[in-house]
Symmetry: C2
Subunit: 385 residues, 2 copies
């Protein structure tokens, strides 16, 4: 399907219903937690001038007696590639940095505190090709690569935590490549990094050709704007991955992704939202946008003819709250920023309300999983005598 | 809100969109897996005469070379109470048995193989009251209580596996009460039972006043129509509960429930569906219907005045497939039967496709949970030095 024929969003379709019908549908589909957030005119003008989508929502704060509200503005940026996939690497990077600068400037105008890019935002999502060159050249150090240095300045300048999912080159360990998210704090210092825990082997997601399952566990980063974690892309299909970030204390878990059309779109609204519910934190699902066409053809292991594109990355970035509410998503077709204002006190409030952590029986499952991983495990299968 | 003002379903609202718009919306909202299933005229007539809703869907079978299709028709029944909550217990039971007979007869006409009732279907959902009498009198033996005996005959007669979620009285262990689902096979024999693993303490769900967390683990029942398990109600909020049924080999997991309005409705479409995706099995979410008004008033721990009703049980029963597709739901207001035809071979096909089990890293999580349950656990929290 050509780019121009891509659906904008299902919300554009639902807009055709009467206001009352929309209200009924959204109440059940999206929950009642989020409201529209007025954004500064400067941010809106900046978005317009730069041809970027911009949307704002807030989850209203509830007052406690002993804790002050901990208000945080989350920024989730989704984007198309600014150049064709086969642009020289330095040019592509420069064009992406230009776009990133716009995104962060706009986020700053919208008073964002914690900003996150999509997965592997510094490059085309070239893993479909299984070609090692030139794509591996996009890999860079998480500690002193050009992207990190570029962002450190911006983070400090805008007093903003920035999460940068990149292709990492680990020069101190045999030049290994990893799929990594780097957390830069609001002083421009690198707080740490997390490597993608679960690597897909499905459709055109040939990432296991390039990097292994991450070895950084489930770190939660203590920032001035709350405790945050990153569940990279395919990790969102794994409830245990989400669970461990929750156990380690995360209040916001970002899910920078790159995923396409029919493969995952009906799952997109489900998984990050389920994780927010089950674990009592906010989740931020961010997906790449647009169709990326590569120079050489490749096949998809589905019997269909060779082709040169990965399919349509459908954007639709959204935020989910611990009560199961979600924001409307960004569009399926445009680069843009979603700004969501939340009170992190909400997490504990909703955990107290639902009691999922109290009723979790973690000890029973620790024992059950230990048994299940035994080579001689006998499933609890009830067979008629 | 009075019963008559309750919304029928969001699908009734979406029907107001043009066919093309509906197609776009449903493709993203519900996925593309399920199609409408033509049901026998006899079943449709029976439904009409008895004033019951009836809907059919199928997930088309894909041919394999070495395995024959394993086609199963699932029946999910949701119902209102036929009498007022304070009807004498024997009368209530008789009225419910009459309704159950209709449901199973209709299911038989629709050629259902595995049939499941809603949670605690033999009684009002009286746990909101915290009154022990008369409600505890509804508890009965899972092995030789009146409900099981009544259903054993029907199961044999209709060659149908029947799952019966009841309030269990365990006379051999100190007269304990449990929230239990009994599995009767298609020969009328009791295959076994499962006790609800996770008990809520939220809103009006005062179930922990009556029974404890279940002690039956995560059994999967081998029937002639596939390997089935039951995740009772609140257990659907716990991804680990769903996970263990998957590890033990379940192909269909039923989620008989009783849940109301604003508390859980935005979560309803998320959790059973997420479980189907993550674990590669079909899930069957069944919810009670109607508003149950009790003789004495009670409070809900939310500062609001005492009242006599539990809120509206919103029905909306549906089936989800391992690829994330879901059927349209039954209505929010009527008693009815959802019939869904699936090929159990689909489970393995989709597990092979997505690879979630292969990429699950269960050993890592077994170790992580073991550590996390240690009293001296130190979360992996990254703090700036």
């Amino acid at each position: 399907m050509s780019e121009s024929k891509q659906l904008h969003s299902i919300d554009e379709k639902l807009d055709k219903l009467s206001i009352n019908d929309q209200k009924d549908v959204y109440k059940i589909l999206n929950g009642v937690g989020f409201q529209s957030l007025a954004l500064p005119d400067t941010a809106k003008e900046y978005a317009k001038i730069n041809n970027l989508e911009l949307a704002g929502y807030e989850y209203p704060s509830k007052v406690e007696q002993l804790r002050s509200p901990r208000i945080v503005k989350i920024g989730a940026f989704q984007n198309k590639l600014p150049l064709k996939t086969d642009a020289p690497i330095a040019q592509m990077r420069d064009a992406l940095y230009k776009l990133a600068l716009e995104a962060i400037t706009m986020a700053s105008l919208a008073e964002v505190n914690v900003f996150c890019f999509q997965e592997a935002w510094t490059m085309p999502f070239a893993f479909c090709t299984r070609e090692k060159q030139p794509w591996c050249e996009y890999a860079e150090s998480a500690e002193n690569g050009p992207t990190i240095k570029f962002l450190q300045n911006l983070a400090k300048q805008h007093n903003m935590v920035i999460i940068s999912p990149i292709l990492e080159r680990d020069e101190t360990h045999g030049d290994l490549i990893w799929n990594t998210a780097v957390v830069i704090d609001n002083y421009g210092d690198i707080l740490g990094k997390h490597r993608k825990n679960h690597i897909p082997r499905v459709g055109d997601f040939n990432e296991s050709t390039y990097y292994f399952e991450g070895n950084t566990g489930h770190p939660v980063f203590q920032t001035e704007f709350g405790k945050i974690a990153i569940n990279i892309c395919y990790g969102r299909h794994h409830p245990l991955n989400w669970l461990m970030f929750g156990i380690n204390g995360a209040e916001i878990v970002f899910n920078p992704s790159a995923t396409v059309g029919e493969l995952s779109e009906p799952l997109w609204g489900i998984e990050a939202r389920n994780a927010a519910i089950a674990n009592g934190y906010f989740t931020v699902a961010i997906n790449r946008v647009g169709t990326e066409i590569f120079p050489n053809e490749f096949t998809s292991g589905n019997g269909k003819p060779a082709h040169k594109d990965f399919g349509h990355f459908y954007g639709s970035s959204y935020v989910a709250a611990p009560d199961g509410s979600r924001t409307v998503g960004l569009s399926r077709i445009n680069s843009g920023l979603l700004v969501v204002k939340v009170d992190l006190n909400t997490c504990r409030q909703i955990k107290d309300h639902w009691g999922f952590q109290m009723t979790q029986r973690l000890d029973m499952y620790a024992e059950a999983l230990q048994k299940a991983t035994n080579l001689n495990y006998e499933p609890q299968l009830i067979i008629k005598k």
